[in-house]
Assembly symmetry: C2
Homo-oligomer: 300 residues x 2
C-alpha cells in the first residue's frame, strides 16, 4: 500500500482550506448556483488510503468534493483515545490536495460546539440502533457521531456523502438519521480498503506494535473463513461466529475479543436460529489498548 | 378580532399547494437561484390571526413565504387532544392565500414519518430544556417538536423561520436546536396576538364553553398584574407568581392551575431568591379538558 505523499505547492493551492461555516457557505453557494453537485467526505484526519477511496468515489459521482477534518470529542467515550488520536495536519493537507479534494473544511471546537460539548443541550439521538454492537461498548459514541454528522451536513449541505464500509454501524446509523430527519443527502458506502495482508486500513493501526501488527491480519482471515462457510450454506449464527473466533484464537493469541456478532444488516439484531436476511458479521478486538474493528456483509 | 375569511379563486391560485418535499425542493431551488430569501411559518393549521402575524412578519423580512400545515402526532402526549385537534383545511387554505403565503406545504404522515412515528429511530433530543415547564407536564412534547421542526427545516431550508411568543418555550428550544445542530436558519419570535380582552389567540380556544371563555381573560390580567408589580420593583419570585395566582383565583374560579412559573429566560431554571436576569413568566391552566398556556417576558 503506497500513499501519494508527494505534493506540490500548486495542488495545495488548487484546494481551498476553510475553517468557518460562513466562508464555506459562501463558497458553496457560488458553486451550487453554477449547478455543481457537492460531495462530502467527513473525516477525523490521520488520512489513509481508505479516506482517499472515499474522495475518489465522491469525485466520480459529484462535481465538487468537500472533505472535513474534525476530531469530534463527543464521539469518544470516557477513557478512550481522544487525546492521543493521531493528528498530522500537514500530511493530511498534502494527501487531500493530491487526492483532488476541492475544499478542505477544518472547523475548530468553537465552531462545532460553540457552547462547549458539556453545554450542548440538543443532541441527535440514534435510539436503539446506537446502543447495539459498537454502541454497547462505546457509550454515547453514536449520539456523538449522529450529532456531529448532522451538524456537518447542515454546514456543507452535500448532495451525497461518502462513508467507509469498515464503520458499518456508523453508515447504518447515518442512513437512518438521513431518513428519519428528512435530510436531503444521499449516503454512499465505499468498500473497506485493506493492506495486502487483509488488515483493514485504520488511523488506529499506527498504535500497533510490530508483534501486534503481525497478528492483526487474523481478523480478516477470520471474517473470510466465516464468509466461506456462509457461502457454502452454513446458516447457524453460532457456527459462523465460531469460525471467526477460531481463526482469531489461532492467529492472534495476544488479542482479546470484545465481540464477534452476526446481526441483521438493518436492525442490527442477532438471529435466534438462522441467518435469513442480509447480515452483518462484525467484530471488535483489542491489542493491548488498541481497539480495532472490522466487518463483512453476508448476503444470502 | 376579524379574519379575512373572504377569498377569491385568484388569490388561492397565486399560492401553490405542495405536499411532497421533492416538489417543494424543485420549486424553492428555482427561487433560490433567483436570489430569493425564503421565510418559513410552520403551523398545525386551525389558523388564526396569530399565525397570520407570523406570515406578515415573514413577508416583511423575506421574499417568499412557505407555510406548512402538519398536525404532528409525535408532539402530543398520550391522552392529549391529537384526535380532536381542530382541522379545517379549506378555511386554512383561504386564510393562508389571503395572508400572502406563497407556498403552502401540506405533507402527510407518510412523508413526515415514512416508517411511522413508532418506528422512528432517530430523534432530536432537546435535553434538559425539553423537560422543564411545558415539558414537565407533556412528556415527550419537545422531542416531538424538535424532531418535526428539524425535519421541516431540512425540507424547506428557510433563511428565517417565524414562531409565536405564546409558545415561548418552543421558541427557546428551537433557538437552541438551531444553534446546537448548526442549522443555518434565523429564528424570529413574533409577539402574541390577543383578543380585545387579552386572551391569547390559540387554536384550542374553540374548545372553551361560553362560561370558560368569559373567565379566560383572567390569565392575561394575572400576567399583567405581575408585570406591573415587577415594573414597580418587585423581584421576589414567589410574590410575582402569587400576583398571577390571585387574579386567576378571583377571575377564573373554574380553572385549575397546572403551573405558574417564573424562570430565567434562557435556562428556564427558577430563581431561588431574586429575579436578576431576563425572565419568563409562564403558566398553564385547564378549563375542564381544555389546556391553555400564556406568558410574558419580564426584563429587568
Amino acid at each position: 500500500m503506497t500513499f501519494p505523499c508527494q505534493s506540490s505547492f500548486t495542488t495545495i493551492l488548487s484546494m481551498q482550506v476553510l475553517d468557518h461555516p460562513a466562508e464555506l457557505r459562501a463558497r458553496l453557494t457560488a458553486s451550487l448556483s453554477a449547478g455543481a453537485r457537492v460531495g462530502f467526505v467527513p473525516t477525523m484526519g490521520a488520512l489513509h488510503a481508505g479516506h482517499l477511496a472515499l474522495v475518489e468515489a465522491s469525485r466520480a459521482q459529484t462535481d465538487l468534493t468537500v472533505m472535513s477534518i474534525y476530531i469530534n470529542p463527543a464521539q469518544f467515550a470516557a477513557g478512550e483515545d481522544f487525546s492521543r488520536y493521531p493528528r498530522d495536519f500537514d500530511r493530511d493537507l498534502s494527501l487531500a490536495a493530491d487526492a483532488g479534494v476541492d475544499i478542505l473544511f477544518k472547523p475548530d471546537d468553537e465552531v462545532m460546539y460553540p457552547s462547549g460539548t458539556d453545554a450542548q443541550q440538543v443532541w441527535v439521538d440514534p435510539g436503539a440502533l446506537g446502543d447495539k454492537l459498537e454502541g454497547a461498548h462505546r457509550p454515547g459514541h453514536f449520539r456523538g457521531v449522529a450529532t456531529v454528522v448532522a451538524k456537518l451536513f447542515n454546514m456543507v449541505r452535500p448532495e451525497a456523502a461518502f462513508f467507509g464500509q469498515k464503520d458499518a454501524q456508523q453508515s447504518i446509523v447515518i442512513r437512518r438519521l438521513v431518513r428519519d430527519l428528512a435530510l436531503p443527502v444521499q449516503i454512499e458506502v465505499v468498500p473497506t480498503v485493506r493492506e495486502d495482508d487483509g488488515l483493514a486500513l485504520s488511523s488506529r493501526n499506527v498504535y500497533l506494535s510490530p508483534e501486534q501488527r503481525k497478528e492483526a491480519p487474523a481478523i480478516f482471515r477470520g471474517l473470510q473463513a466465516a464468509g466461506q462457510a456462509f457461502d457454502a450454506g452454513e446458516r447457524r449464527p453460532r457456527a459462523i461466529v465460531d469460525e471467526v473466533k477460531a481463526e482469531l484464537g489461532r492467529g492472534a493469541p495476544s488479542a482479546s475479543v470484545e465481540y464477534v456478532a452476526l446481526t441483521d444488516y438493518e436492525t442490527l439484531d442477532p438471529y435466534p436460529e438462522t441467518v435469513d436476511t442480509p447480515a452483518l458479521l462484525s467484530l471488535a478486538v483489542r491489542f493491548g489498548s488498541t481497539r480495532l474493528i472490522d466487518n463483512i456483509p453476508l448476503l444470502p
